[in-house]
Symmetry: C2
Subunit: 341 residues, 2 copies
Amino acid sequence: MTSPVRLAVDCMGGDHGLPVTLAACLEFLQRDLNASLLLVGREPDIRASVLFARLQASTRVEIVHAPELVEMSDPPAVALRSKRQSSMRLAFEQVSLGHAHGAVSAGNTGALMAISRNVLKTIEGIDRPAIATFIPNRSGSSTLMLDLGANVDCSAEHLAQFGLMGSALAMAMGVEQPRVGLLNVGEEVIKGNELVKQAAEQLRQMPIHFIGNVEGNDVFKGVADVVVCDGFVGNVALKTSEGVAQMLGAFLKEEFRRSLFSRLAALIASPVLRAFVRRVDHRRYNGAVLLGLRGVVVKSHGSADAYGFRHALDRAAEAARHRLVERITESLAARSGLVNA
Amino acid sequence: MTSPVRLAVDCMGGDHGLPVTLAACLEFLQRDLNASLLLVGREPDIRASVLFARLQASTRVEIVHAPELVEMSDPPAVALRSKRQSSMRLAFEQVSLGHAHGAVSAGNTGALMAISRNVLKTIEGIDRPAIATFIPNRSGSSTLMLDLGANVDCSAEHLAQFGLMGSALAMAMGVEQPRVGLLNVGEEVIKGNELVKQAAEQLRQMPIHFIGNVEGNDVFKGVADVVVCDGFVGNVALKTSEGVAQMLGAFLKEEFRRSLFSRLAALIASPVLRAFVRRVDHRRYNGAVLLGLRGVVVKSHGSADAYGFRHALDRAAEAARHRLVERITESLAARSGLVNA
């Protein structure tokens, strides 16, 4: 039996808004019987949705009215300063007020980072929040990668903090002693740039299971549970991966559509191809966790559909239930214990 | 009719040595009737090869005896200082002496970089050589990416030089006005790190067609002919891509082997799957070009087979025939013309 959890959902964010977020909320509540939701957004619009009646019937939803909306194109500073009643901001406030255990939004990343930090503040001892994402690996589990773009000019200390926070998140997600790797290059000439060399030194001092350097191709092998890198490298690596996967998918489709014979082959192979597509479905990995804040914040892809957004809700519920913030705080305490000892 | 070209081949390098390099040389000469080769390596071993008789029959090979061999595990400094008679070094010397138009080696990257630079020297105006690789893209052509690991701590000026050299190589390979992009991150929060911002400024001053920032997923879309990044980011991006492709390939295989039905489907779909595999065959992209040296140097993957190594030979022949080094020199002259004007 899972413990009760309550999440605040920014129902207006993302490319699709209410039709997607409310459908995801419904699916989430049907699956997670100990969860309840605060639906943050324009109350008249939420009530007008055909899905709301079914949500209300579950008796596990409340509406928090938010008259404003952060647009996908809003610059972070504008969203932060002039939209004090946005659904995104009010969702985070539910967490800071103690009304919710975590918040989920598919709104624009820049605004989300700025507002969540402004509302929730960072944990003492953490300089900068990081964005962490789970990616599939060959061993059948998933690898947590961070940072994915929150910080493009990092110090070695920042990377070490990422390692500590990533380890805490992996533990919260059920990995017993997460293996933490540092993303580096592997040629003989070069044993990494200066930043990475220093970061390795600092990661060795952390109360985590640091396994040393990993290379780009290791990320998908499952040799590490957590892979640490700066936000620039992480963002490029993640997007490059998406690009390759899309290209290969497009090529495979083209080959199966090339002739009458190949179309027939596709028809026969369709159960196999569908199983393959299900297995690599990126929607199951939707839900990046903002680490280092005094509250659980999960960011969904802006373009996520209801299935994807529901996975972001699952992620937030899991992080909140497994005391993510407390785990990070405890790790930091253990670290300063090590330093003082 | 192509112009005559002569290449020096390090026949001993790579994981497999002579059986692979000589087989590739034979295939290369059979396809390129205006090419000749200097086979650099241990003469007795070369003569003892069953392939040598056929190579000799072509009358377009000569042997350059090299008693020493750079091992895959040799540190660059050792290979550089204590192996003055290595097949790798003597291959580059054939180029610096004017006996060959270019050199190809599958030997270890660190040694190859150190020795090629020592023997051939950099072009005036180029601070650091870069490693450039062609990768497939969705538009059916290929994208040139550099640097791939020669330089892990780059300045903005270095990145700008990479743009200029990459553009020259793309032109040598037949692209008329290469679109040069700068690899960057795309989130709203962050418009790239300091290095990239400065590099963009400098690239705008270059006599090239600079199209601005590109993101990781753009690399495989074909929106740019040349993508510039520092060696750390490039190495991680390339290896991450390889990792994803391997994982997806493994998953696809597993799904097609899962049951009796899926095995049957695989049998029926096999011509389509083979066409797909041919299309994404990385061996056709083997052959990274070292840019910025006073001579054409192409590095093959250490693990390349004869088919892959032959592509590296093709690449070197093409670069030499299309006056790669002269093109870079001319671009640099055009640049200083711009600066002085």
